[in-house]
């Protein structure tokens, strides 16, 4: 008899589920943006941080924020070309599951009737979710996914605001060339990458660009991000002794690498972290005294008090208690580009929004990120996306490269930790 209760609960759940769909149709005068991110599962931390960033961005667009300077749509409340229409965000959680991402994209388009889509963090989920958007003819903004071939599959409806793996790789090579000119010794580099789509894509791109730039890759070490011990990798590096080590890592492993390097008294002339783990707000407090002078790739800089970026960071901090990180900031920038296009389209018609997206031309001063602008090529990739290099000085990152944007002087070699 006890089982009855369970059965009843399940039946109740099923009925309520059917009602949910019915409640979804009360249309309001707003633009619906469906956002697909991993809010649970292994990448949940990144998804959650990006969700908060998107909410801040929506607040900036929907309410008047004249203090935010040239940032498009900040001054006015809502979208001016659409009579002050507000953005309505609908978040869904794909849990890192590509097939679920596909289903959720379908749901957002057919049930929630969203006008545009955004997502999906993991490249695997971006692959499947964008295919749905393409099928239904709904613009899809890829906020942040590394794999090169998400754009360039002949899709008309997919746009990507963020720089991609090959952009990062080229940035590193330009940086190395610059350093060599200044007389720094970069005879060999090592790449340590986590072995899912992100780490593999970026590492492949670096290997390729390094070949073109004639920078010898002494060692490439793929590893699993769930490793609890990385000393073997550190010892391999110690043996080969490269001049620069690039880590393409998630959070726990980045911290573990910096701590273990310190413990095992290994200090290469320079360490470069490829964003992600090195940009996680947990990174600095955990390793500040072990990784002084470690560099990081980031297109985001908080900037001086009073600047637009500083104010955005304050808004984000008020919401989450943490500083905005590069991953979430890039998602936020993509969100702004999307909002700008919707405003210029002046309509919720997907085709008009798509056309407006193809005509996007944001200038550097209109951006919160250090890109040279936002402009999509025929594959939908932002061709003006770029990135800074930042360096850990004391308890915060300082922008050190390129020179024309730098706020602090590059330290080479890195100081490392106490040991």
């Amino acid at each position: 008899m006890k089982g009855f209760r369970v059965l009843k609960a399940v039946a109740a759940a099923a009925t309520a589920f059917t009602f949910y769909a019915a409640a979804q149709t009360n249309a309001a005068e707003s633009v619906k943006i469906g956002i697909i991110w991993p809010l649970t599962g292994n990448a949940a931390a990144a998804g959650q941080a990006s969700k908060a960033a998107a909410e801040v961005a929506a607040d900036i667009v929907n309410n008047a924020h004249p203090e935010l300077g040239d940032l498009p749509l900040a001054k006015t409340a809502g979208l001016p070309n659409m009579g002050g229409a507000k953005l309505e965000l609908i978040f869904v959680d794909h849990q890192g599951n590509p097939s679920l991402a596909q289903q959720l994209a379908t749901r957002l388009i057919t049930q929630d009737k969203v006008h545009v889509l955004m997502g999906a963090y993991q490249s695997s989920c971006s692959f499947t979710a964008t295919a749905v958007a393409e099928r239904y003819g709904i613009p899809f903004m890829v906020g942040e996914s590394a794999a090169g071939n998400i754009t360039g599959r002949g899709f008309k409806w997919v746009f990507r605001g963020t720089p991609i793996a090959s952009d990062y790789a080229r940035t590193y090579m330009r940086f190395f060339a610059d350093m060599k000119k200044q007389g720094k010794k970069i005879d060999s580099i090592a790449i340590v990458n986590e072995n899912t789509d992100y780490g593999t894509s970026v590492a492949d791109a670096i290997v390729e660009e390094a070949k073109k730039a004639n920078v010898p890759v002494a060692l490439r070490i793929p590893y699993s991000a769930s490793s609890t011990d990385v000393s073997a990798q550190i010892l391999q590096l110690k043996e080969k002794n490269p001049d620069v080590v690039i880590f393409i890592s998630y959070t726990a492993d980045s911290i573990l690498y910096m701590k273990s390097m310190n413990n095992l008294q290994y200090k290469p002339p320079m360490v470069i972290g490829d964003d992600t783990g090195f940009s996680d707000p947990s990174f600095i407090p955990a390793v500040a005294d072990a990784a002084q002078g470690a560099m990081n790739r980031s297109a985001w800089a908080i900037g001086k008090p009073g600047s637009t970026t500083y104010k955005i960071n304050e808004m984000y901090k008020a919401k989450t208690g943490r500083d905005l990180d590069d991953t979430s900031a890039r998602n936020m920038q993509s969100f702004f580009a999307l909002a700008d296009a919707i405003n210029r389209a002046g309509s919720t018609d997907p085709e008009k929004i798509r056309e407006a997206l193809t005509k996007t031309d944001l200038k550097p001063e209109q951006l919160m990120m250090g890109y040279q602008g936002v402009k999509f090529d025929e594959t939908g990739q932002n061709i003006l996306a770029a990135t800074y290099l930042i360096q850990l000085h004391d308890k915060s990152y300082e922008l050190v490269w390129p020179d024309n944007a730098a706020t602090a002087k590059l330290q080479w070699p890195m100081t490392g930790g106490k040991n």
Binding site: G3, V6, D93, Q95
Partner: protein
């Protein structure tokens, strides 16, 4: 007179599944339906060896993954229709089943479960490093169909009926198996291997046959998954969650019963979808708290699965009706 009531639940079920797309014609509901069918197929395939023979494999993702990779690999390498890969997936899975069946079936109980987990994990990690199959990034299907033979449909409807057909074939096969000598062998092994052997059941051979059959159908399920999703990577093909889901669905519904996995999927998939719909966007993890909680409750109060519960209720109802 007697035959009709015995058949009626089956007929009802078949009719319900056939007309579901007519009632819930929205693409999202169709997709949920397709997901449900796929889960029912995988779990029913697992059921042959895990339920009927009582050999609890927690590594069936190895067959699912092989089946899932084969079509997209054929497409990537030769530009063939993904359909052409399905037989290769089956062949690879059968080979693997025999290869691992021979050593691991010497093990019983938890040892067998652990060995299957280990083999599946081994394959998952290996595929993540293997460039031919796209390593960590995985493989994609045709972005747009070149023709119907690419099985890349704009609508979910064709998938629904393809999957339903496969499920019907699998369940009919299982139904016949139940009544065949082979089915009795399996149940004898489940009850007690030693006793079965003493009665002249070829235990080792029967177990391997069951694994091969189960692997074949699991592989087909994997192929259906990747053809429909248009994408496969090591985690979605060989991940431990893929294996665990099959076990959970079968156990929830009733392992070793013809309709057990179907009933399990009928409960679990709407439950997953509903919790994710209600709580997913909030990002608090409530999805899994509710989901995990309900699994625990069912294990605690209905350890034989929902099918048991149904059997307890239905004859009583039946008798009550006919007594009056």
């Amino acid at each position: 007179m007697n035959k009709i009531p015995a058949l009626s639940p089956t007929v009802l079920l078949a009719v319900a599944l056939l007309i579901y797309p007519l009632i819930f014609s929205g693409a999202f509901y169709l997709d949920v339906g397709v997901t449900f069918l796929l889960a029912a197929i995988s779990a029913s395939a697992w059921n042959i060896v895990g339920g009927y023979a009582g050999q609890v494999s927690v590594g069936h993702a190895m067959f699912f993954g092989l089946g899932a990779y084969a079509p997209l690999l054929c497409y990537k390498l030769y530009g063939w229709t993904p359909m052409a890969g399905i037989p290769f997936g089956i062949a690879a899975s059968v080979a693997l089943a025999i290869l691992i069946g021979i050593p691991t079936f010497r093990l019983t109980g938890h040892y067998f479960s652990m060995a299957t987990i280990a083999v599946a994990e081994l394959i998952r990690i290996y595929f993540g490093t293997w460039d031919l199959v796209g390593a960590a990034i995985g493989l994609q299907g045709p972005a747009t169909a070149r023709g119907w033979w690419d099985l890349t449909f704009r609508s979910e409807l064709p998938y629904y009926y393809i999957f339903l057909t496969v499920l019907a074939v699998l369940l009919s096969f299982t139904y016949l198996m139940e009544r065949h000598r082979f089915g009795y062998y399996l149940r004898a092994i489940k009850v007690g291997e030693r006793a079965a052997r003493s009665l002249g059941v070829p235990v080792q051979q029967t177990k391997i046959r069951a694994l091969v059959l189960s692997a074949m159908f699991t592989s087909v399920a994997g192929s259906l998954y990747s053809v429909k999703t248009g994408f496969i990577d090591p985690e979605s093909g060989f991940g431990i969650l893929v294996s665990v889901q099959m076990v959970i669905i079968a156990a929830l519904g009733g392992a070793g019963r013809l309709y057990g996995p179907l009933i399990g999927a009928l409960i679990l998939i709407p439950l997953q979808t509903a919790t994710n719909t209600w709580f997913g966007g909030g990002g608090t993890g409530l999805t899994f708290i509710v989901y995990g909680g309900i699994i625990v409750l069912i294990a605690r109060y209905e350890p034989g699965g929902i099918y048991d519960l149904w059997e307890q209720i239905s004859p009583r109802r039946w008798r009550r009706k006919h007594a009056s």
